[in-house]
């Protein structure tokens, strides 16, 4: 082997709590039974092909269609829409004599529309296919027939094959780890794509296989794995390895999952157990809940409304038709003899007038079908895709540092972005950077670290020390950021400045020995792994959490550099404060007592060069102060004071302590501890933590650290803008109440003059009850307490609102996790919610992921308004999927949140632009577009109806078939798409400058029923004007100098010309933004109508039928035709124009005001 095996680090020992010998659990008894029937012949994949164990290959398809099923499946998808079914039925019926127009003219637009949608589906699927192909063709080394590893494509992997995966490569399938470059067969994997956690996970191989470390050793390797069937559970695996006649249990610890990545390990060998769609990650790839925007839901209602309108007018027509037809014969006399009622078909039979009327009803349903806009759905889809391209392309939402643009992951919800009423935000990583920075510490009762945190500045402002103007704040913050950059090369995770201890000056401090111990603890008490950059020699650290990394980095910067970690030794290079030289000291690592959320602390036991046994411990203040020895409390009061200050400044606190252990004491403890660790009983964990508890006592306090989770850039400004836009913001965080409140101030969520309502269970009564441990009593008391607090809050608000009728006082509600639990129960839900919606900001602290989702659901269902969740971590996924819109921050915490989101942005501050600019625009565009769609189809459809009234409702359309079928597809489609894609009422700059504009979307003013019905009414008026004015001014007398009169065709062309002009000019009137595109589309559509008339009219008469030379011969040379067009078009636009003129002037909407102001 080219790479020598790395010797040494037996991390399996280091992770002491995690280390337990794999033992057969209950589940292993299931092997071979139902659900656990998979058999894998390792190193012998051919065997699977022979026997009954045929497994699928490793190629993965995420496409929706295949080449063969594309047409039927895509068609089926299309006809799930009511409107499309209607049009399909119409097209089918149009082949029967019922049809009012020729079948082809009905089919053509339907085909165009369906074709366009299918093409879109096809293109999307093609993209997915390309991605699949790329993934399937990735290379991996596989063990082949000639006993060497050779490269092959991912898709060719088969179950049972042996593969070699190198550092930083992704695992191609689910593998069982056989051995690795480490002697003890461990490896590290990064599972960011699976669970979103950035820390590395440790995987073990079975001891029996860990020696298989080169090609030769695999020559005779043969084993059988029996395991569970493919399933979607990422956190369990049950299997048995049969090797050398023995059975060994396999668990998730031995498994490497597809989608995760090998880290910090040169290479591993593994055997393929699940391939392709059987892998756990693919089993997990379920569709996220599909979301539809409110506007689309409302649009369905409008479609139904139009359908009822259609049925109504068809019915009215049929009644009149029936009466007229009935009258055609009376007592052997035929009224309209020229229709030959004596010898007629069933459709016009006066003797069977009722049946004729019914059949006519069907005809009329087809005839007035133009009321239903056939191209609406496809236009909206095209528009939304283009809109999301604009979102993706927006440079102002591109984050330079992470090289991430904003991404609209679904185009369904663009317009929903313009209607957000409540934002539910995660804190860590969303409002803050989630990059922990060491800023302060308190050592031996002295506070070090001079910088001020943003929270502190916000608090200072709150007290009125600084001018509270928003502009000053932003410049202040920027100035501060500038400082940090200027002062020196900034180190990630370290923002500490204090001359007293930096640059080795700490030796001159009064308690320099304590300072030394303090930083030694920071440098030793952790589980981080150093990684030396070979090129530069710089050391970086892989740590479980960013907090931990910050400690190690801080220690390094002060002068205690953590160099190397081996199985038993930690190497520290530190400044000796006597000799003032850098010396390397070895610490023998004896035990690691891991961090857990219940213990809230971690310790290591080491032996230093002086042969002292030391227990170094760091932990949360609540867990630590109780464990100090009597002599160790020297600085307790000072430190506590500092801690309080730090907490107020929004910092995360860790208390640092240590103790010396006696040899004897340690020895007896270690014995017990080893026994506990290897015990097989169920309460092993309890035993272990009890023993840890036993040794972590009588500690000596050294000090405390304070770590800042910095606010992201621009967060306060963004929140302020969003608040001005009338959006309510809830912060749901797992942090402590003090931290959350302070962050709230820092990001101007809580503002000066805001009244705080705090709901908490941290009261002495509850504490007392908790000590007694009576659960029912606690629940009862908590319930009562919260009920009381909620009603008190309501009283407060009522009082305030009555007292100060003039000024509106804003309220902020702060509630902690435990109280939230009770508040979300049925009895209190309502009253809690009533309180919460009055408050302009709500902060829920100590909230679990489940609570986050619950709160989201509560807000969504109770307000019925649009909610937006924003978060970055795996713990926010529930919340993101629950909300109407989920926005993922593509930040440090992996891709999980992004993958569950509908939109992803890199920074919280981009939310401002996403909502106020893109949201507002998209909302406005889509709602205008839908309104206009209905307008144009009603304006057109109703002219048909009015004409019918003058044709005894016989079902004769007023226009040539092809004029009609081209109406939606060619003469009016492009301008409306341009409206949907490009229109801007006000520019992006003004959208941001006047956030109040956003209210139009929140209150849904642009898509309210009055407005929709208004547009429809406008359509009816237009149709009336077009029909009656045209007929009145053209009919009967000659329309040209040569005495010709207007016939059926000329009237049709004139009316149609008026319709095309009117709807396109109406568009020109309604939009606010004319680029060359709009000009081209609008005037081009009108020009296209004339071109169409000329071209279609010049085709031979057997093709052009009634349209033959109508324009060139009859209309173009008639001045009356042009005069009527001008007159009718102007008349049909006047009502809308006058309305708009007076409305903008005397009852302006907000965008009108801004437009006028900015003129």
């Amino acid at each position: 082997m080219p790479e020598g095996r790395r010797r040494g680090i037996h991390f399996s020992k280091l992770y002491s709590f995690a280390c337990c010998r794999p033992k057969f659990e209950e589940n292993h008894a299931q092997i071979g039974k139902r659900g656990y029937s998979r058999v894998v012949y390792c190193n012998d994949p051919k065997k699977h092909e022979e026997g009954q164990f045929k497994y699928s290959g490793n190629d993965v398809f995420t496409t929706k269609y295949t080449v063969y099923n594309f047409v039927p499946k895509a068609l089926f998808e299309q006809f799930r829409r009511v409107a499309n079914i209607y049009f399909l039925v119409v097209a089918c019926v149009s082949f029967s004599p019922l049809a009012a127009y020729t079948a082809v003219s009905v089919l053509a637009p339907l085909l165009v529309v369906i074709g366009a949608t299918m093409a879109k589906e096809g293109v999307e699927d093609w993209r997915r296919r390309k991605q699949d192909i790329k993934a399937n063709n990735r290379k991996v080394k596989v063990y082949g027939g000639n006993h060497t590893f050779h490269e092959t494509k991912w898709k060719k992997l088969r179950v049972g094959e042996l593969v070699k995966v190198c550092k930083d490569e992704y695992f191609p399938t689910d593998l069982i780890l056989l051995s690795s470059s480490y002697e003890d067969g461990i490896c590290y994997v990064e599972t960011m794509n699976l669970d979103g956690e950035t820390n590395l996970k440790l995987k073990h191989s079975l001891e029996v296989t860990s020696h298989l470390c080169d090609e030769k050793s695999f020559q005779h390797f043969s084993a059988v794995i029996k395991c569970e069937d493919p399933n979607e559970n990422l956190f369990s695996f049950v299997g048995t390895l049969y090797y050398d006649g023995k059975e060994y249990p396999l668990s998730l610890k031995n498994m490497l999952l597809r989608g995760s990545k090998l880290k910090n390990t040169e290479y591993i060998y593994g055997v393929v157990v699940f391939t392709g769609h059987d892998t756990k990650v693919m089993k997990n790839a379920t569709d996220p809940p599909s979301k539809r925007s409110k506007i689309e839901k409302k649009m369905d209602k409008i479609i139904y409304l139009l359908f009822s309108g259609l049925i109504l007018i068809a019915f009215v027509g049929s009644v009149f038709f029936g009466i007229e037809t009935k009258k055609d014969t009376s007592g052997g006399r035929y009224r309209r003899w020229y229709l030959r009622p004596d010898n007629t078909t069933v459709f016009f039979d006066p003797k069977r007038a009722l049946l004729s009327a019914f059949l006519h009803f069907l005809t009329a349903l087809m005839l007035y079908g133009y009321l239903i806009p056939i191209s609406l759905y496809v236009s909206i889809e095209i528009v939304k895709v283009l809109q999301s391209i604009f979102i993706n392309q927006d440079q102002d939402m591109y984050y330079e540092e992470a090289d991430r643009p904003a991404q609209a992951r679904t185009s369904n919800l663009n317009e929903e972005l313009g209607q957000v009423d409540t934002i539910l935000s995660d804190k860590t990583g969303t409002l803050t950077c989630n990059s922990m920075e060491f800023v302060k510490c308190s050592i031996a009762g002295t506070a070090y670290g001079q910088g001020t945190t943003e929270v502190e500045r916000a608090l200072a402002r709150r007290r009125g020390d600084a001018p509270p103007e928003a502009s000053d704040v932003s410049s202040d913050v920027q100035g501060h950021d500038g400082d940090a950059v200027d002062s020196r090369k900034s180190i990630k995770g370290f923002n500490f400045r204090d001359e007293r201890i930096m640059n080795g000056q700490w030796v001159n401090e009064p308690h320099s020995d304590i300072i030394q111990k303090f930083f030694r603890v920071l440098a030793i008490c952790h589980t981080a792994v150093p990684e030396v950059n070979k090129g530069t020699g710089e050391i970086s650290y892989e740590a479980e959490s960013p907090d931990e990394a910050a400690f190690v980095i801080a220690a390094r910067e002060i002068g205690f550099e953590f160099r190397e970690r081996t199985q038993t030794i930690i190497l520290l290079c530190e400044l000796d404060y006597k000799t003032r030289k850098k010396v390397c000291r070895k610490y023998e690592l004896l035990q690691v007592l891991e961090f857990s959320s219940s213990r809230k602390r971690m310790s290591v036991i080491v032996r230093n060069v002086e042969n002292q046994l030391l227990l170094l411990c760091k932990g949360a203040d609540s867990a630590m102060f109780g464990r100090l020895s009597k002599d160790g409390r020297l600085f307790e009061s000072q430190t506590k004071k500092h801690i309080k200050k730090y907490a107020e400044a929004g910092l995360r606190i860790m208390v640092i302590a240590y103790r010396e252990l006696g040899e004897e004491e340690y020895k007896s403890w270690e014995e017990e501890f080893q026994k506990a660790k290897t015990s097989v009983s169920a309460d092993r964990d309890i035993l272990v933590s009890a023993l840890a508890d036993k040794i972590e006592r009588d500690l000596i306090l050294l000090g405390a650290t304070a770590i800042e989770d910095k606010l992201q850039k621009g967060v306060p400004e963004c929140i302020e803008k969003l608040a001005q836009a009338g959006i309510k913001i809830w912060v749901l965080t797992g942090d402590k109440m003090e931290t959350a409140v302070n962050i709230g101030y820092a990001c101007s969520l809580l503002r000066q003059g805001m009244k705080q309502i705090v709901i908490t269970l941290d009261s002495p009564d509850i504490d007392a009850l908790e000590k007694q441990g009576d659960k029912d009593a606690i629940a009862q008391a908590s319930f009562e307490s919260i009920k009381k607090q909620i009603s008190e809050g309501m009283h407060l608000i009522e009082n305030e609102s009555t007292n100060s009728a003039e000024e509106s006082v804003e309220f902020g509600l702060i509630i902690d996790g435990k109280s939230l639990d009770h508040s979300l129960k049925e009895d209190l839900e309502k009253s809690f919610f009533n309180l919460a919606i009055i408050c302009s900001s709500v902060i829920c602290c100590r909230a679990s992921p489940k609570q986050k989702a619950l709160v989201t659901r509560l807000v969504k269902s109770e307000t019925g308004k649009t909610t937006l969740s924003i978060g970055d971590g795996a713990n926010d996924v529930g919340m993101l999927q629950e909300a109407d819109i989920g926005v993922g921050i593509s930040g440090v915490e992996g891709m999980q949140a992004v993958m569950a989101s509908d939109f992803s942005i890199a920074q919280f501050r981009f939310l401002e632009r996403l909502l106020l600019v893109h949201g507002h625009w998209c909302y406005r565009r889509i709602s205008m577009m839908i309104c206009y769609f209905f307008y144009k189809n009603i304006a057109f459809g109703f002219t048909l109806f009015w004409f019918e009234a003058y044709a005894s409702f016989s079902g004769q359309p007023a226009y040539n078939d092809w004029y009609m079928s081209f109406f939606n597809v060619f003469f009016t489609s492009l301008p409306v798409i341009a409206l949907g894609v490009f229109d801007q009422d006000v520019s992006a700059r003004l959208c941001v400058k006047y956030p109040y504009l956003y209210i139009e979307g929140v209150q849904n003013l642009l898509f309210s029923w009055p407005r929709i019905l208004g547009w429809m009414f406008n359509g009816v008026i237009s149709s009336v004007i077009i029909f009656f004015f045209t007929t009145k001014s053209m009919i009967n007398q000659a329309f040209r100098r040569d005495g010709q009169v207007v016939d059926f065709e000329v009237l049709g062309v004139t009316m149609y010309t008026c319709v095309v002009w009117a709807v396109n000019c109406q568009m020109a009137l309604s939009i606010n933004y004319f680029t060359w595109i709009q000009h081209l589309f609008i005037w081009g559509s009108i020009a296209f109508w004339y071109m169409f008339l000329v071209i279609y009219g010049s085709l031979p008469p057997n093709l052009s039928t009634t349209a033959y030379r109508v324009f060139t011969e009859a209309c173009a040379s008639s001045s009356l035709y042009w005069l009527v067009t001008l007159f009718v078009v102007v008349c049909s636009l006047l009502p809308f124009f006058s309305y708009r003129a007076f409305q903008t002037r005397f009852k302006p909407m907000y965008h009108d005001l801004i437009q006028i102001k900015k003129l």
């Binding site: 790329k134 309209r336 993958m899 329309f1039 933004y1073 409305q1143 002037r1145």
Partner: protein
């Protein structure tokens, strides 16, 4: 939608796999163009009071002259309209007009005298105007065979023409269908001061119809030979392209009241001339209560007599001017300073709800 869901779950996974390797080399920064950043140069028309007033006034200023022009044109047209369906029924039949018109024994000739109110310059167009006649009825409109009319070869294409498609012995009727069958058959003879006025029947149909839609090799055949006679008969020796009456009739009217060109008088008529019209009142409009009128009219550039358009133009023009004035008045009475910041505060509770 499902589509999207799968895109994202599948796509993103692979996207994530790719990103680490592909990143850094080529930045994902969106390329700048005015198009993608939605900053294309654009004009943003805004309804300011100035624009509103200008538009109203402009419409008024354009419309009023057009209105006057068309009114004058319409005034110049001399039109004589005479209803004859009642007068041309002898008094003894006035309670049973249907019997009169359906009987072949009755004398349908009828004489009417019309006075020319003003001088009428030639050409004077003669129209007949029918009323309550649904030429736009779907059954009627469809009942024709364009192929048959166009060429002799497709003589038998009569499928749309039922029940006037074929004779009893199954030979095709040319021209077939209800439209041709119900051809108008009243005739008019004109004389002034006992001098017969020539009625020209040439060039009363559309040129394109004559040349391309009605074949010069198609001759009437079996026409009006059934038991029920609809309207006029055709001279079987003249090809359809020359049968201009038929061509005019077959260009169906849009509305139930319509005029059709009957012919032209190529001589001028002086004011107070008395025209004697001899009408053969053959066509049955009595069964459906349709009126029949004879119309003599000159034309101008606007066509026939058409007061509506002129009046409409004037009305709308006037209305626009009125709107402009009232807008100015409202503007003066209730001025609102532009860009009043108080309107831009977000504390304003009510936002107008309107469209």
């Amino acid at each position: 939608m499902n589509t999207k869901g799968e895109t994202s779950s599948g796509g993103a996974k692979d996207g994530a796999l790719d990103s680490s390797s592909a990143a850094k080399k080529n930045s994902k920064k969106p390329k700048y163009s005015r198009f993608t950043q939605q900053e294309l140069p654009a004009c943003k028309p805004i309804l300011t009071p100035g624009w509103v007033m200008t538009t109203f006034i402009a419409v008024g200023i354009i419309f009023i002259p057009i209105g006057f022009a068309s009114l004058f044109a319409s005034e110049r047209v001399v039109e004589i309209v005479d209803r004859y369906d009642e007068d041309c029924v002898p008094p003894n039949y006035s309670y049973n007009k249907l019997a009169f018109i359906q009987s072949s024994a009755t004398n349908k000739t009828c004489t009417k005298r019309l006075t020319v109110p003003k001088q009428m310059k030639s050409p004077i167009y003669i129209y007949y105007q029918l009323d309550n006649f649904y030429q736009n009825h779907r059954r009627y409109v469809k009942s024709r065979s364009d192929k048959q009319l166009r060429s002799r070869a497709s003589e038998d294409e009569t499928s749309d023409c039922k029940p006037e498609a074929v004779t009893k012995n199954n030979s095709a009727i040319v021209p077939c269908g209800l439209i041709a069958w119900s051809l108008f058959n009243d005739t008019y003879g004109f004389s002034v001061k006992n001098k017969v006025l020539e009625v020209s029947k040439k060039d009363i149909a559309w040129k394109s119809d004559q040349e391309h839609k009605f074949g010069s090799d198609v001759y009437p055949k079996n026409f009006q030979s059934g038991s029920l006679i609809g309207g006029a008969k055709l001279n079987a020796s003249i090809p359809l392209s020359e049968q201009e009456d038929l061509i005019v009739w077959m260009r169906t009217a849009a509305l139930p009241t319509f005029r059709k060109l009957y012919g032209k008088i190529e001589t001028d008529l002086e004011a107070n001339d008395e025209i004697t019209v001899v009408i053969q009142n053959n066509y049955n409009t009595y069964s459906f209560g349709g009126k029949k009128r004879l119309v003599l009219s000159t034309t101008s550039w606007i066509g026939g007599k058409n007061d509506f358009l002129g009046v409409a133009y004037l009305t709308i023009g006037g209305l626009c001017l009125f709107m402009a004035i009232s807008f100015i008045l409202l503007y003066v009475i209730k001025p609102r300073p532009l860009g009043d910041p108080s309107y831009l505060s977000w504390n304003r509770g009510n936002v107008t709800e309107s469209f």
